[in-house]
Symmetry: C2
Subunit: 206 residues, 2 copies
DNA sequence: CGGGTTATTTGAACAATGTTCAAATGGATA
DNA sequence: TATCCATTTGAACATTGTTCAAATAACCCG
């Protein structure tokens, strides 16, 4: 049996269209936010009918989730590329990389955090797993810094620190309220990590 | 001229209806989230027509904003009631009170943070002022704890700490991902504040 | 190449929901 | 009671997600 299937014309067009649809949707979310995304706009921008969007994605949520999945993937790649030799510098690097990604793709990240499934359907498990895996990138340096602590505690601590940093960045970038100036925000994040590490007896007092 | 105006039957009915509409809307948001709020449901629950809701509030945003304003007012009252004798205990108390209010009224607080105006209209200034004033409650103990620092720096620090705590609580309560158990969350918040204060040389190392 | 078969695409129609406004209603007033 | 005007009403409209039967296009085989 031939495993390597020849790609038919149908499949190629289908794949091209799918990529185009995702790209169009991502651009719209990235520039004007999740709430500005409309099926009809996506369809007309991709030069196809409304029905074709439904053919490719089960429903509106399906399209959003696909964009969000790719966003998590990109974030994961950025965070995974942070140098990890020294665990302290690793933590500072992760925080700064998260800030950088958030600043550059604020609407995409907000889409990830703000999106709620229609009709109280459950959040898809695979995306949850992806998010958890990205969370876990913060876990590694914390384990190295606190080798004697209960690993469960350390996991909670890592998640707590991520949530705190996320709060600082997310509210700091919110233009609706008075946004924190970018330089100040960068300083705040670094200061938060440093203060936290000092408080945990990992860095010396200043 | 008579300043104390006799309340006419018209006015009384109008005020009663207004209160009822707000109450109905708040209950709906509190129990099922902002997205579940529908004009028609509110109208029928208040036993009046759709148009009457529009008569009382300019539009849908107007109703939501009214509920959100009251939420900020209630939060402000709760936080203002926290004992403020010792600034360190004051900070712990504020964090715990915020956690308590958030836990009890999660959907109402999410409504406050998630709501976006229709058509990119600006966020109303009076509500922004209310939120800022509530933020400022955290400011006072920080000033007492860091009397020698630049007040502008302290203000940024206070906002940073609020944002961090908000992130910890908000993501911690999110059931969509794996929610942090309530007791664990309470511990995390207290631990965050303590670590932060130690790192800022305000509390001794443990 | 042609005809049959199957997959895909299309867009009109539907459902849900925020919004408007002319007519009806009802409280105030003389 | 009669007139006047504020308020209320709900039908109609606009937007937007969703469905599905008909049209179209790709594939396959003789």
């Amino acid at each position: 049996m031939n495993i390597v299937q020849e790609e038919s014309l149908r499949d190629r067009k289908k794949n091209e269209r799918r990529e185009l649809l995702i790209e169009v949707a991502r651009r719209q979310i990235a520039s004007n936010g999740l709430r500005s995304l409309k099926i009809r706009d996506v369809a007309s921008a991709a030069d196809c009918s409304i029905g074709s969007v439904y053919n490719e994605f089960d429903d509106f949520d399906g399209l959003i989730l696909t964009v969000n999945r790719e966003t998590v993937g990109r974030l994961d790649a950025v965070l995974a590329a942070v140098p990890d030799q020294d665990p302290v510098q690793h933590l500072f690097g992760l925080a700064d990389a998260y800030l950088g990604f958030f600043t550059e793709h604020a609407h995409l990240l907000w889409s990830l955090f703000e999106h709620r499934m229609e009709n109280d359907r459950p959040f898809p498990d695979d995306l949850l797993q992806m998010v958890m895996r990205t969370f876990a990138l913060m876990h590694a340096p914390m384990v190295r810094l606190l080798p004697d602590r209960d690993p469960v505690e350390v996991a909670l601590l890592a998640r707590m620190m991520f949530s705190a940093a996320h709060g600082i960045i997310s509210l700091g970038l919110e233009a609706r309220m008075v946004a924190v100036p970018p330089d100040s925000l960068r300083f705040q994040v670094a200061q938060f990590v440093e203060t936290q590490l000092i408080g945990m007896n990992i860095l010396p007092r200043r």
